[in-house]
Structure formats: C-alpha cells, structure tokens
Amino acid sequence: MKENFIPEPAVIREIITQNEQIRTFRLELQDKTKAFTFLPGQFLMLSLPHCGEAAISISSSPTALPLIDLSIRKAGKLTAAIHEMKPGAQVGIRGPFGKPFPVDSFSGRDLLFVAGGIGLAPLKGVVDYCLFQQELEEDSVLSMTLLYGSRTPSDIGFQETIKNWQEQGVDCRLTVDIADEKWQGDVGLVTDLLDDCTITEKTTALVCGPPIMIRFVIARLSSMGCTDEAIITTLERHMKCGMGICGHCHLDDKLVCVDGPVFTLAQLKTMDVMELG
C-alpha cells in the first residue's frame, strides 16, 4: 500500500485570533479511533485543498489531546488560505515528525524561554506540558521564565495564554521593538531582557524566533555562562516530506526534519547554519 504520503483528515474545531497575522487553529482528527501522540517541539505536515503541504510546528501540549493546536502566521499561499478557513473545515495532516524538546530532562531545571514573534508557538507546548507536570507534581521543573519580543504592541500574540501562565507562576516578560502611545512595558530587543536574568548551572534556555534573533540570543546566553548543551533552539527550514527523504532541509550530514528541528547549541556548532552567522 502506498501510504507514506497520505494525510489523515482532521477538522478545525476552533480558531483563536492571536493578532492580525497569527491565528491558532485547534484541530481534531476526524477518525477519533486513530492513535495519535506527540511531544512538544514536533511538527506536522498540514495539507489544504489545492494548496499542497507546509510544515507547521505544534503549539499545544500532548496533554491537551485529542486537540492539536497549530499557530500559524500568514506568510505564503497555504498559510494565507488557512486564515480564510472557518471552524468545521477539513484539513489533512501527516505526522508528527521531528525530534521533540528533551522534556524528560527538564525536571529540576530552571527553564528560560526566549521567543520572538511566531517563535513562541513551538515553545508554548513545552510550557503547557511542564505546567501540567507541575500540577501532577511529577518530575517537575523548578521555575519557568519567558522572555517574549514582538515588533510592535499589536504584533504580540498569545496574550490570553501569557496571562494564564502568569497566574500559574510563569515569569513572563514582554518587550516590543517599536512602542505606541499605549504601551507601558519594555521597549527594545529581547536580548535586552536577558540583562535582568541570572543564569545558573541549573538553567536550560529554549530559544525560538527569527534567525537573526536566535544568533544574538545564543551569543548573549553563552557570554552569560550558559553551556552549549543547556541552550536549545528549534530551526525553521523549507520542508517537503517531513520524514528525511526529500532533501530540502538537508544541513551537512543532518536533516532538520529528522535530526531536528530541535538542536542544542553543541549540535549546531558542528553544522554550518545561518542561525550562528
């Protein structure tokens, strides 16, 4: 049976508007009997009628299954098309693909999340997952801090989520590059927020955002004493198959879709990637 590339039908249950550019699509597999599980950091190949496929990282925690969140920013043809869709519409998904964040190794660690723009999407699943574990008081993390940078106040996404996190004890700090009259918070790059953070040997930093941001945040974290193994990031690359055969995301002797997208800085340093400049 030629089944590798056959997507599984899924239904959009709910659409949450994060801002003008970003919406979260809450999906559920149509066939509820189908086994489906994943870990934070993994991604799906999303199919839309007449648009083909695109790789989208899952922004929810597996603890929220059977619901799967995909937070999508309008960037190309497919992402623009899904922004036009309504709840109840059908899409196709393949996956999950890729290596997740090493969530099992986070117990007893201070997690520092550094995100820019849509880069918060893959990290969101980790925060939710760790909060769930804290509630169960199983192998839980010591603390969680989120540094989140956006271009302007209207570009800030996930505001509701961030409010909830704050109530649950996540230390969330927001900054914008360009402020408007109403903005009262920090203005500046997300790297500036790092000035107020302390890095200990218990810190694990999870970084996701545009390549240029990743580059500066990693440099800053390293200079603050964070080890290469304790800096984890997730890369974005053009992908077609998701399972390590099409060759599009090939990076030296690695394939981002299989060996990543989550990499530690130690791993990145063995590769030639734009994120390190």
């Binding site: 056959i6 007449h50 496929e53 196709g92 399972m243």
Partner: protein, 349 residues
C-alpha cells in the same frame, strides 16, 4: 561476495530467454530509437525493438523507480470532506542491460528510501523489480566508475549480472530472485567452464585499463573530510551555474524531490512528487521569502558536498557512481569532475 549461482548463456539464447521473461513481467531495456538515442524503454515487441547494449543509456533507472513526476495521491474536496486516495500498486518489472553504475545508484536509493522511514511508494516499485546488469567491458568516454568503486563489474547487489565474454554471457546470480530465475529457465544455460572464468577475469582487467578519465574521487573525499570547505571554489563554480537543474535530473543518485498539488478542477486534484534540484534557489526558500542558501556563491555547494562528504560521513561511501552523465551537459562546464579536479589541485599546490 560469493554468487549464489553461475551459468553461461549462449548469445543466441538471449532473445528467446527475454521472450520468456516478458511473458510474466514488464520488460525494460536500453532501446535505440530512430534518432539514435538509447533510452531505457518498455519493450512491447522484442523483434522490432533495437536493444542496444553497446551504448550508454541516456537515462538511468531513476525515471522508473523515482519518476520525474509521480502521483502520490488523488484528492477530492466535496461534501464528504477532504479525502485522499493512494495510487494503484505496481506491476512486476524486469530491467535488463542495466550498467554497474546505475545498479549502484539503485542500491543507494534503496538506502535513502528506507531510512529513517521506508518510502512505501518507492518500495512498491522496487519490490516488484528484478534487475539484470551488464558488466562494462568498454567504459564510455566520460565514465569513471572505477574511482567511485561502482564498476566496471559488480560483486553484489544485482539479481543477475551478465558479462559479455564473446559468443556468450557469463551470468552470476547475486540474489535469490535471480537464482530462482536461472533455475526456472535452466535449459537456456550451460555450466561454467574454467576458460569462461578466465575470459571473464581477463576482460575485467582489460576494462579497468580502458578508462580515459582520471578523476581523483577518493583524494577529494579525503580532503573534504579533513579540511574546511573550499569557499573560493564554491564561488568560482557557482558563478558558472545557470540553474538548469540538469545535473541533478540526469544523476542516478540525486533523489531530492518536491511535493506539489496539481489542481484538476474545483473539487479534485493530484498530489505530485517531482524531481527537484538543490541548485535552484526555490529549493530552500521559505514561505516568508527568507533563504538560508545564497545561490550566487553556494549554488553547487550542497550538491557536491552531499555527494562527496556528507554521504561518505553517513554511509561510508560517496554517492557519485561515476556514470559521467552530468559531465557534458553542464551549460557552464562546472560538473562534479571540475570540482574534484579543483579540490585536489589546491592540495597539490
């Protein structure tokens, strides 16, 4: 590796044997057409087809095992929802007259399409195929398979290997499927004599001496493992890459592909897999327009490094099979041998 079985096929028996094989499976062989081009084609009539075993087939087996454009699914968008239907299964196919380099390429594809996930579509075809190779007694002008350890004769991987030893073929069965075929049609063959073996060995030695190109593949490979990437060479070569993609398309081991939807009408379409070339800028460009590869200086880097460095690191073997197909076709004259020559020359100086 020790072959499962060895027999001799008198040349007069070749067509009668192929006729029997064709009864049970689709037969694909190098056929010279009216224009003098030799292409692997399906043989419908053995008596009128000109099976050409003297020239290198223009295409490898890639167009058959990984078609230029393949339907992965038909999709339907209607009241029932958004549904996908996989294509039909494949028919049994015998490939005859495959050169050693091209079989090596198939073995490479077997590897690529099995890890980390088994590509069901590729294996639907591969599992239904039986490959009969023909050892090369006369390497062609651009061949350098000896440098890539993929010819002129093979020691494993084939179902059957034919070696032309004059008025008959020396046949070795490398896999059970091939040995079974020899058993089934045993009356076409005779036993191997000592002089057949000697003739085969002699021909192999002679063939090895006939290569006209000296391509230092191992040397280049070693240098790439040891030393930093030769930036100056990338730039010099990439300036001459005009983005036709031809090198990747004719290459028997270039397996990169794209997935696209082809709309048939409002309610249905096809999901297609088609060949792609890492030399084009759209290969890596992301939806927002950002591109991690700068084509102007790195158009060829990915391709050459993949073949000579990364695959060596991953599989212990380079993925160039020395078939020479990419050599004359490059618009800018910057094929893999140009690169190898440059890399090895730098070290010498």
């Amino acid at each position: 590796m020790i072959d499962l079985k060895e027999l001799i096929l008198p040349k007069d028996n070749l067509i009668p044997l192929l006729r029997k094989l064709k009864k049970e499976a689709r037969l694909i062989a190098p056929v010279q057409n009216a224009y003098g081009d030799t292409l692997f084609s399906e043989i419908s009539d053995l008596d009128s087809a000109h099976i050409d075993l003297d020239n290198q087939p223009q295409s490898s087996l890639k167009p058959f095992l990984l078609p230029q454009q393949e339907i992965l699914a038909r999709y339907q968008v209607d009241k029932a929802g958004y549904t996908f239907t996989p294509p039909e299964d494949e028919q049994e196919t015998i490939y005859f007259g495959v050169r050693s380099c091209d079989l090596t390429a198939v073995l490479y594809m077997d590897l690529i399409f099995s890890k980390p996930v088994k590509d069901t579509n590729y294996y639907a075809r591969r599992n239904q195929s039986l490959i009969i190779t023909l050892g090369c007694n006369h390497p062609f002008a651009n061949c350098f398979c000896e440098a890539t350890a993929s010819g002129p004769y093979l020691e494993y991987g084939y179902d059957l290997q034919f070696i032309d030893i004059g008025d008959c073929y020396f046949i070795s069965a490398g896999r059970i499927k091939g040995a079974d075929l020899l058993d089934q049609w045993s009356y076409f063959f005779r036993e191997v004599q000592e002089e057949d073996r000697k003739a085969r060995y002699q021909l192999l030695l002679e063939a090895r001496g006939k290569f006209t190109r000296n391509v230092q593949v191992a040397h280049a490979c070693r240098r790439l493992q040891k030393e930093p990437d030769p930036e100056a060479i990338w730039e010099a070569l990439s300036r001459r890459c005009y983005d036709c993609g031809g090198c990747a398309y004719v290459c028997p081991t270039c397996t990169c592909f794209s997935l696209d939807d082809m709309v048939l009408d409002d309610t249905q379409g096809l999901r297609l897999r088609s060949w792609d070339a890492c030399t084009s800028s759209g290969f890596t460009r992301m939806a927002g327009g950002h591109n991690p590869v700068d084509r102007r200086c790195h158009a060829l880097k990915r391709r050459f490094l993949h073949k000579l460095k990364d695959d060596f690191a991953r599989h212990g073997k380079v993925s160039c099979t020395g078939c020479g197909r990419c050599i004359d076709i490059c618009f800018g004259g910057v094929d893999i041998t140009t690169f190898i020559d440059l890399v090895t020359a730098v070290e010498a100086s």
